[in-house]
Amino acid sequence: MLVLTRRHGEAITVGDDILITIVSVEGQHVRVGVKAPRSVPIYRSEVQERIKLENRRAAQATQADVQRLASVWKPKAD
């Protein structure tokens, strides 16, 4: 991993069109600004971990579970 030292207000460029700016530093908290094209998804890393976990949990479902759930849950009629 590349490690760079940056001060408040300084930035890092990634590729041609991603700009990461250190907006502010206060004690343990660093505010980071990310400028990137709309097609580049940006999230806190824990969000991706959260979705991984949720997908793993979802994949545990059995046919019988879903059949039972389908017998009690119906889509709302619009």
């Binding site: 979705i51 991984k52 979802a58 879903v66 059949q67 849950w73 889509p75």
Partner: protein
Amino acid sequence: MQSTVINKKTTHESMERIEVMEKEKQKELRLSSECFGEITYTADAIMSFEHGLTGFEDLKEFVVVDIDGCEPFQWLIAINSPTIGFPVLPAGAVDAEYELRMREEADLMYGMNADHLLVFIIATLPTDLEESTINLRAPVLIDAHRNTGQQMILMSDEYSAEYPLFQDAAVSERR
């Protein structure tokens, strides 16, 4: 005159070729799974997921199938690992406004064509089924025209990854 005849013949041949290709696409394929029994699908139902699903990056090909007694739920099943399946709901079955917003989001993020776009929501079923949740934060997008799919993780945290399925009010009113 001559060229007209040749053109006709060529057109006829290519028509035949297209018919063969169409038949190939419609051919019934089967996969057996310990979990789901025998599943039949057609080649044109195979959706390729270039990035897999989050946490399942190795799974690149899926089909969405109906399994008896599961409606309105469907299953997103990995063709190469048919023991792995995700129960999904068409977004429209949950909330029409949510579906509309996801279509807009897919267009903004990926330029996915809204006309052929299907939006599915993955459901998580715990032991107590009343505690079932749906993942509104990361819907599955399928482009039925290009036979591609992907899971879109929303950047904003306004939708929950664990939204309770049993809710009275519409999703868009109580997020």
